[in-house]
């Protein structure tokens, strides 16, 4: 497989076939927590794409040039510290230089530290032995898959407001049942392999 097709299939797989939420169950907390409205879901999604791309790049470099196999046992501690400080740094940077963007994304940023999709993608890049470009592509497309899922889900939930269902399903349960139906839809992508 040549370079370009390889990276393309990597991206496709992260967005659709192995969607982080519906197949891997990574990032379920924000997925269920911030999906009541399409606008907030979109904001969260974009913030996640941003952080996951940068985090994939930085953790890949740190893992290749600093940790290696000798200090593999420190990976979890180092990665989560990197992610936490990255999020903090991005927040300060946006506040100073792009106040408009900060206005819309700011409130989601602190939540991202504990979004397991970010640490998850950093760990997966290492276990799958991806190179630098591969990690960045995987990070951004996994974030893209997250955004796709959360926006789809938010639009379903907005419609749910008008639906009629048993009282005990109020709130989370009905959301989970709808998520399950979306997950079935995503199962259709499993057999998708063009190469």
């Amino acid at each position: 497989m040549s370079g370009l097709t390889y990276y393309f299939s990597l991206a496709l797989s992260a967005i659709l076939i192995e969607n982080f939420i519906f197949v891997k169950f990574l990032g379920c907390c924000p997925f269920l927590g911030v999906s009541k409205k399409i606008d907030t879901a979109t904001g969260m999604g974009i913030a996640v794409i941003f952080v996951m791309t940068v985090a994939s790049a930085v953790t890949n470099l740190v893992n290749t040039y600093i940790l290696g196999t000798t200090y593999a046992y420190m990976r979890t501690v180092v990665f989560i510290l990197i992610i936490a400080s990255l999020v903090q740094f991005i927040e300060m940077f946006l506040m100073k230089s792009m106040p408009a963007l900060y206005e819309s994304l700011g409130i989601y940023l602190p939540l991202i530290t504990t979004n397991c999709a970010v640490l998850g993608v950093a760990n997966l890049n290492v276990t799958n032995g991806l190179d630098f470009i591969g990690s960045v592509i995987c990070g951004s497309s996994a974030g893209g898959g997250f955004t796709l899922a959360i926006v789809l889900f938010a639009s379903v939930r907005e419609k749910l407001e008008y639906a009629d269902y048993p009282k005990c399903f109020e709130g989370f349960p009905i959301a989970l049942v709808s998520a399950s139906l979306l997950a079935i839809a995503f199962m259709g992508f499993q057999g998708l392999s063009i190469f």
Partner: protein, 201 residues
Amino acid sequence: MSSFVKQLKEGILTNNPIFVQLIGMCPTLATSTSLKNGIGMGLAVTFVLMCSNLVISLLRKFIPSKVRIAAYIVIIAGFVTIVDLSLQAYLPELSSSLGMFIPLIVVNCIILARAEAFASKNGPLPSLIDGLSMGLGFTVAISILSTVRELLGSGTIYGLPVFGDGYTPIIMLILPAGGFLTLGLLIALFQHLTRNKEESK
């Protein structure tokens, strides 16, 4: 003694992390395909929760509030790595079936939430008990969920066949979609039961 029972009841029933607080969803959904995995995950989380609560409570006067989140995360990550390494060394089978979800205990919202809401404000002993009861609450919830999924999804409990050969398993329940569905139905049931109780009072 009575406060111990009260805390335990709060963690398992009235303030159950999964059924009531609705946090820590990722590992709950991902590792509940069989009872064995569910219990393994539950106990790993309980261990980390107890240790981190204890240490954070002991250090609560030394940690400046400005850097507290970073400090908590490092402490939690330390204990998670210890669990990860011990499982790899002594329970390799469980370690490979829980896979990537062990390191991800670090970002399990339950642990950071308890550190922030409880351990940073209370003494070591109550914090330890809080860790135990919240951890047990998580374990109980994930065990119920995984029992239902394993029983109907593969017709076994803890790997032992229950229904005999005539049973056709509902495969969907051990697939990701079934995780969302089963958890949704269970929480609905939980809400239904607690609501009835309140109304009868």
